[in-house]
């Protein structure tokens, strides 16, 4: 979230789209109710189903699953056509005025630079026009046809209400009503927030779904504002924290791009990731990359990391290819992986195309599952009737199942969706011989290190040289690790403006990332968490809920990254002179000498407003990007593409270009295209989702939750039920190109058919919480149905839209 849970109460309009907070995040959703009750805020829900969030909304509109960009692109068109934008904000704080390379184009569904054979783009033509000093050229009148504003206007001119209706199935009147409500927040004293979740990410256009909304929030001037922002309501209690620790091949802790084969030396690596400013006077905060990276190397390799050896740069593995979940299972399926460790992750249930995952796991030599619970993954080799029809004797994988403790049985921090890092305390030991994840990883590493010390082996140096300062080597403590993540001074750290002033003495914990250095004098395991355990102690354990202004910031509760800031980009909550756009919801303000107020300023504290230092400090141009010249692999502006399994024969926006049917830059593995179904055989759109009574594949092991939702079911509309002769309670078979399941049918008014591109389109709703282990009745893993294809940028699988057929079982 750019903002935070409690801040939702400050909104005037709340849009829930691509999520269902009332069921998936009930205790956070109460802040929506609070806004409705106390501010007379209105709630709008757009969803393929009439969800429980919709049930308490002021306005609900249905939409075809997988067509969100068409809807949101239509909103952008409406705002621009009717001049419902926050002009001063857009002009000053976004790149609307920036000039783009004249050779940029968008033709027949493809941006310039498309390489069909590689299914990828060369972004060379998407760049800013630069002047002699290397700064981006701008046109403050926004009239130049090459400026972002004009390009955007042309791009979305196609998204008329008629086209929106044709693609999304949303009735035109409903769509226009929502446009009007959204447009009302273009004025400085009205703010909208958007709450989304996996209903936006789990598509092959997932990243661009979110980007389209971010553009709307920028046009309305709602970013950086109390009650505004773009708010991802995330999954597990620590999914944000694990994202921040970056257990991804492509990044190191704190989102530092990991080295690839192209980064031959440390100097080349750092130079590529340390941007130069693209406009005068901007903070260009990412220029500090070398400080963050060097401090990480010192935390990992300790004394072994020296200036002479490039702080052990060569010890870091270089990335040569994709290793996301889909890529890993593809490699496993191709026999390129020998071993696999699943730590608290149940991919047989939660990865797409279960049949392929089963086959992949069976090719492993060894599998290690670390989990508090008996997961399906750990028993992929075991026959469970129709739910897991395998022949154990043929599976030669050696499987280890290691019991770990759960949240209640360990100390440590979780980071919530608001980016607030909170310490939790152990209430009891885990059952039997279960051990904490840190003790398991610590114990395993110490054994490995001993083997390398004794026998040698492939490049033993980094294994033997890894900094391991823990008092009990096999049991690194949560306190020791939290302090290592936060960071400390290895030598005295002096004030860069006054060398006689020591900010942190050698051995002290650092106060924040501004104290990090690139000369090896500081160590921090994750720069964005720097300061969470400062010299004053463990700030994540703070428990002061005080909220003196009533805005809900609670700055003394836990520690929010970065720098305990609760609302990101909060400089944008003020006009150019530093005065809040809305005094009743002031976040920060310029007091004549410095920035301050009800949050940690997201701005250099002494940056005078007339210096024009812009709020988006991580971008080298200082402003937000309506047009993204980098980082997105599938285009600088969001465009509607059909899901990979679509009920339509062509993209209504590009009916004559089959290349532009679905995301042209999404990765497709050999064999997976053939495993996609056609509407002729599988005529119904399906979507998987959660129920309020269950959490993923965990709570089926909990008796109380199993009692409340014991049995697997699917949901269909009354109309589809009539067509297929299905009644409430009938058992039905749901088939996709990849597999099938049998479940009880619930016939409901909550789902209705939509007319899309002139054709009636039905939805089959599939809650996904069952499996072959647990306290519920056994059920099918719903991912037996889903396709093995992901978003072009994030590779998040397309769980939310695929095609099925349905019949009475």
């Amino acid at each position: 979230m750019t903002n935070h849970w409690v801040d939702i109460k400050n909104a005037d309009l709340i849009l829930i789209m691509g999520g269902n907070a009332a069921e998936a995040h009930p205790c956070g959703f109460k802040w929506v109710v609070e806004a409705k009750a106390n501010r007379k805020a209105r709630l709008v829900v757009v969803d393929p189903r009439f969800t429980r969030s919709a049930a308490v909304s002021d306005f609900y509109a249905p939409i075809r699953s997988g067509s969100d960009i068409a809807f949101l692109g239509g909103v952008i068109h409406y705002l621009l056509l009717n001049d419902k934008i926050h002009h001063d904000y857009v002009k000053a704080f976004t790149n609307a005025s920036f000039l783009i390379n004249d050779s940029f184009s968008f033709t027949d569904g493809l941006f310039s630079g498309y390489k069909a054979d590689k299914r990828s783009y060369d972004a060379a033509t998407w760049q800013y026009q630069l002047d002699e000093q290397g700064f981006a050229k701008v046109d403050d009148t926004l009239q130049n046809p090459s400026c972002v504003f004009q390009i955007m206007k042309r791009h979305y001119a196609r998204y008329t209400p008629e086209v929106v209706n044709q693609i999304t199935g949303t009735p035109q009147a409903d769509f226009l009503k929502i446009c009007e409500m959204i447009a009302e927040t273009a004025v400085p004293d009205r703010v909208m927030t958007i709450c989304y979740a996996l209903g936006w990410t789990q598509h092959t256009v997932g990243t661009q779904n979110i980007r389209t909304m971010a553009m709307i929030q920028l046009l309305l001037g709602n970013m950086g504002r109390a009650g505004g922002g773009v708010n991802a309501l995330r999954g597990h209690a620590n999914v944000q924290g694990i994202t921040d620790q970056c257990l991804y091949s492509e990044v190191l802790p704190g989102y530092l791009g990991a080295p690839t084969d192209a980064d031959k030396t440390r100097e080349e690596y750092l130079a590529k990731r340390t941007p130069k400013p693209l406009r005068p006077n901007q903070m260009n905060y990412a220029q500090n990359f070398p400080k963050w990276h060097t401090s990480l190397m010192k935390a990992w390799y300790g004394k072994a990391a020296t200036a002479e050896n490039g702080f052990c740069y060569d010890w870091l593995p270089k990335k040569d290819a994709a290793y996301d979940v889909l890529a890993l299972f593809e490699r496993m399926y191709q026999g390129k992986l020998n071993g696999f460790i699943c730590q608290g992750f149940n991919p047989l249930a939660s990865a797409p195309h279960k049949v392929k995952i089963d086959a992949a796991l069976a090719k492993l030599k060894f599998l290690v599952v670390i989990d508090p619970l008996a997961t399906e993954t750990a028993e992929f080799w075991k026959h469970y009737d129709e739910f897991n029809p395998v022949d154990s004797a043929k599976i030669q994988t050696e499987v280890f199942r290691l019991p770990s403790t759960c949240f209640a049985e360990q100390d440590g921090t979780f980071t919530n969706s608001s980016r607030v890092i909170q310490w939790h305390w152990k209430g009891a030991d885990g059952p039997g011989e279960s051990m904490s994840d840190t003790d398991i990883i610590g114990g395993l590493f110490v054994k490995l290190r001993a083997l390398y010390a004794k026998e040698g082996g492939a490049l033993p140096e980094p294994v033997l040289g890894l900094a391991w300062p823990y008092r009990i080597a096999t049991q690194p403590s949560p306190e020791e690790l939290a302090m290592e993540i936060s960071g400390k001074a290895l030598a005295d750290v002096a004030d860069p403006k006054d060398a006689t002033k020591i900010l942190a003495k050698a051995g002290e914990q650092l106060a924040g990332f501004a104290q990090l250095r690139d000369d090896g004098s500081t160590a921090a395991g994750n720069w964005i968490y720097c300061g969470m355990w400062s010299q004053t102690g463990n700030l994540t354990a703070r428990r002061d809920p005080a909220d003196p202004t009533g805005l809900g910031q609670s700055l003394g509760w836990g520690f929010a990254w970065p720098a305990n800031r609760r609302i990101l980009y909060n400089r944008a909550a003020c006009d150019l002179s530093g005065k809040p756009w809305d005094a009743s919801r002031a976040v920060i303000a310029w007091d004549g000498s410095k920035w301050g107020g009800n949050d940690i300023p997201d701005m250099r504290p002494d940056a005078k407003p007339d210096e024009a230092v812009m709020p988006f400090i991580m971008n080298p141009e200082g402003v937000a990007r309506l047009f993204a010249f980098e980082r997105l692999l599938d285009g600088p502006l969001p465009e509607h593409y059909e899901p990979f399994e679509t009920p339509l024969d062509a993209n209504p926006l590009h009916p004559n270009n089959p290349q532009a049917l679905s995301n042209p830059a999404a990765r497709v593995y050999p064999g997976d295209l053939e495993a996609l179904g056609k509407a002729s055989e599988f005529p119904y759109v399906a979507s998987t989702y959660r129920l309020v009574e269950h959490f993923h594949f965990w709570t089926k092991h909990s008796v109380l939750n199993a009692i409340t939702q014991p049995q697997q079911f699917i949901e269909i509309s009354e109309e589809l039920a009539r067509e297929k002769g299905i009644s409430n309670g009938h058992r039905v078979r749901v088939r996709s190109k990849r597999g099938q399941l049998v479940a009880v049918a619930v016939v409901t008014k909550r789902i209705r058919s939509l007319t899309v591109n002139g054709r009636k389109t039905h939805l089959v709703g599939i809650p996904f919480h069952w499996g072959f282990r647990g306290a519920t009745h056994p059920g099918y893993i719903t991912n037996v149905l889903t396709p093995f294809i992901g978003d072009a940028n994030s590779q998040t699988p397309e769980f939310k839209t695929f095609l099925v057929n349905i019949e009475k079982a």
Binding site: C27, G28, G235, H236, A237, N238, V239, G241, L252, P253, K264, W300, W315, L316, K318, D320, A321, L328, M332, G339, C342, Q343, G344, F345, L373, A374, K382, Q396, T397, E398, V399, F400, P403, C406, A408, G412, N416, Q422, G427, P431, E433, S434, D437, G443, L444, G457, A458, L459, P476, P478, A482, I485, N526, Y529, R543, P545, W557, H701, N705, R773
Partner: protein, 196 residues
Amino acid sequence: MINVTRRQFLKITAAGLGSSSLALLGFSPEPALAELRNYKLARTTETRNTCPYCSVSCGVLLYSLGDRSKNVKSEIIHIEGDPDNPVNRGTLCPKGAGLLDMIHSADRLKYPEVREPGTTEWKRISWDEALDRVAKHLKADRDANFIKTNDAGVTVNRWNTTGFLASSAASNEAGYLSHKVLRGLGNIALDTQARI
């Protein structure tokens, strides 16, 4: 009635229910004694924790039997929302309301086990044997497949034949340590639930 916070209330009522403390709460002792039963949480230890389900990360209070003294085994007997937490303010949802049954689920794993190739059952093993065998597998695979330089002669020092999927339910500290160890071994075949 004087202002007493919830926690002070528990403390006062736990302090033996003497007439002076009851009077402090504004009750007259005689009828109050007739009303009160032995409150089940009065003798428990309260621990602050976080619900592990969604990312609202509701504050929870764990109530356990046992006073944390040496050789006393604690047992969690009740869980409820933490009223001090600024986000959930004491509430829990239908998922979180079942937390106690999750902790005490019959499907909790208690011992390290192995399923040998081709067999149909689990076999209990010791932690020492489990970690020894896994460490040997990892080392054998790393030593056999470690790539020091690529075809162009660039130092790449990577190991990509054993994969690792990290949990979104683990603490930051566990996630960080796992990341440090994996990169330390040169492993790049790592990913996490957070992507999905």
